[in-house]
């Protein structure tokens, strides 16, 4: 297995509080990895380190497609290759849906306005909201906004997509439409690292499930193993609490 994303001894502290305590993780090209774990276990911090939205401690190493995630040019290259979808969408409110999707190709890659617009319309088609292109984000439902956010990230044709609880801010009836888009995406072979509480999605779509607690990876493996037959007591406790609530 050649690792597309490789994380070695990742440590991260906020002040004196160590949030990530030496994470080692390899993700292969095309692999779909779901990260689960209790609140505060460091899941968001972990994936935010991959595109260095969070700076991490010296001695830690993250590589994406062979490029070390540091700063300057190397970081720009990594960020162009890594797409991210946030829990709170973070669409740009002063731009229309189409412009939200066009901005990065135009400003980072120098794509022409016409090409970027065509690509945006194709992506909107793909996430099922072609008719909303000229609206502003505030006029869309949460589920539609999150699908625009996915299209916006895809516009840079990323090799890896990071999702941080993409459905946690949504009303229950809108969760399905976003998960469907993610399921389609997984089939196209994009590498995906997904922090989620959606156990159904994890068990159906993930190649591998990772259980984190207190800044460490406690257990990982195929979903059938980790979700249905967990070996570690902490995993069992967590799943028991999540599934019986």
């Amino acid at each position: 297995m050649t690792a597309f994303v490789s994380i070695r001894n990742l440590r991260k502290s906020f002040g004196t509080f160590e949030v990530l305590k030496g994470i080692d993780l390899d993700v292969a090209k095309g692999e779909v990895v779901c990260i689960i774990g209790p609140s505060g276990s460091g899941k968001s911090t972990l994936i935010r380190c991959i595109n260095r939205l969070e700076p991490f401690s010296a001695g830690s190493e993250i590589r994406v497609d062979g490029t070390a995630v540091t700063s300057g040019r190397a970081l720009a290259k990594v960020r162009a290759e890594v797409g991210m979808v946030f829990q709170s969408f973070n669409l740009f409110p002063h731009l229309t849906v189409r412009e939200n999707i066009m901005i990065a190709p135009r400003r980072v890659r120098g794509t022409s306005r016409a090409d970027a617009a065509r690509q945006a319309d194709r992506l909107l088609e793909r996430v099922g909201i072609a008719s909303q292109a000229d609206k502003y984000p505030e006029h869309l439902s949460g589920g539609q906004q999150q699908r625009v956010a996915i299209a916006r990230a895809l516009a840079m044709e990323p090799q890896v997509m990071l999702f941080d609880e993409p459905t946690s801010a949504l009303d229950p009836e809108m969760v399905g439409e976003v998960l469907d888009v993610m399921r389609d995406l997984a089939r196209t072979g994009v590498t995906m690292i997904v922090v989620t509480h959606e156990m159904g999605f994890a068990s159906q779509v993930a190649d591998r499930v990772i259980f984190m607690d207190a800044g460490q990876i406690i257990e990982q493996g195929p979903p059938a193993q980790v979700l249905s037959n967990p070996q570690e007591p902490r995993t069992r406790n967590f799943l028991g609490a999540v599934l019986n609530h």
Partner: protein, 223 residues
């Protein structure tokens, strides 16, 4: 002799009006030039204050605090009457514009900083994750959103700058106020001063009213 002959003497008005218009023109030039230069200076200061290396951040803060503390009249007199001792002799216009810009820039910097800080962190993160460099992030994402927040306070600041141009009459600038005082002396009648006051009000009232309207609208939208 009634009050109209003293304060709103039509004959004096007609005679001195051209002088006042010349003064108004200089006031507007000085005001506009200082406002624009102050905006540029303020934006640069805000960037240095927010994103500069630590020593630069400290120096910018020092600058901003000093130039918000110094009375404009004192600064104006220093620039015009004290700098020549260092061999720097500026024209009245340059002195006045310099002093107005230095102070306006300090206020503008704080306005821009507050506007940028009001933009949610997620906007910065989404831009960074897409690969936008810091300049593009500012130009395309952050500032266009911050503009809505900063327009009312920036307009207020611009009103103050235009008002403060009147202080330039102490460095022999033939601005609206200076022309009005001269016209008053020539005609031995205070009418030109009253007319000048009316001209100031006529130009600034719409801006003042505009700010109130914008503030009401933004307040309504936030609800």
């Amino acid at each position: 002799m009634d009050i109209f002959d003293t304060f709103l003497n039509v004959e004096v008005m007609q005679r001195t009006f051209p002088m006042l218009i010349r003064g108004l023109w200089i006031t507007l030039q000085l005001g506009a030039a200082s406002i624009v230069a102050g905006l540029i200076l303020g934006l640069l200061l805000a960037m240095a204050r927010l994103y500069g290396v630590a020593p630069l951040r400290f120096l910018t803060r020092l600058y901003i605090d000093i130039f918000r503390s110094i009375p404009l009249l004192v600064l104006l007199i220093i620039v015009y009457y004290a700098l020549p001792f260092l061999g720097l002799r500026l024209s009245p216009f340059a002195s006045a514009m310099g002093a107005l810009t230095l102070v306006s820039g300090a206020y503008t910097a704080e306005i821009f900083r507050a506007g940028i800080e009001a933009i949610p962190k997620g906007q910065f993160e989404a831009s960074a994750a897409l690969g936008l460099n810091p300049l593009r992030m500012m130009a395309d994402i952050i500032l266009p959103q911050a503009v809505r927040i900063v327009i009312p306070p920036l307009t207020n600041n611009s009103i103050n700058v235009v008002k403060d141009t009147a202080l330039a009459s102490v460095v022999a600038m033939p601005d609206l106020l200076k022309q009005a005082t001269q016209a008053q002396a020539l005609s031995a009648n205070p009418t030109p001063l009253i007319v000048a006051a009316i001209i100031y009000i006529a130009f600034l009232w719409p801006l003042v009213a505009g700010v109130s309207r914008m503030e009401r609208r933004f307040a309504a939208r936030r609800r």
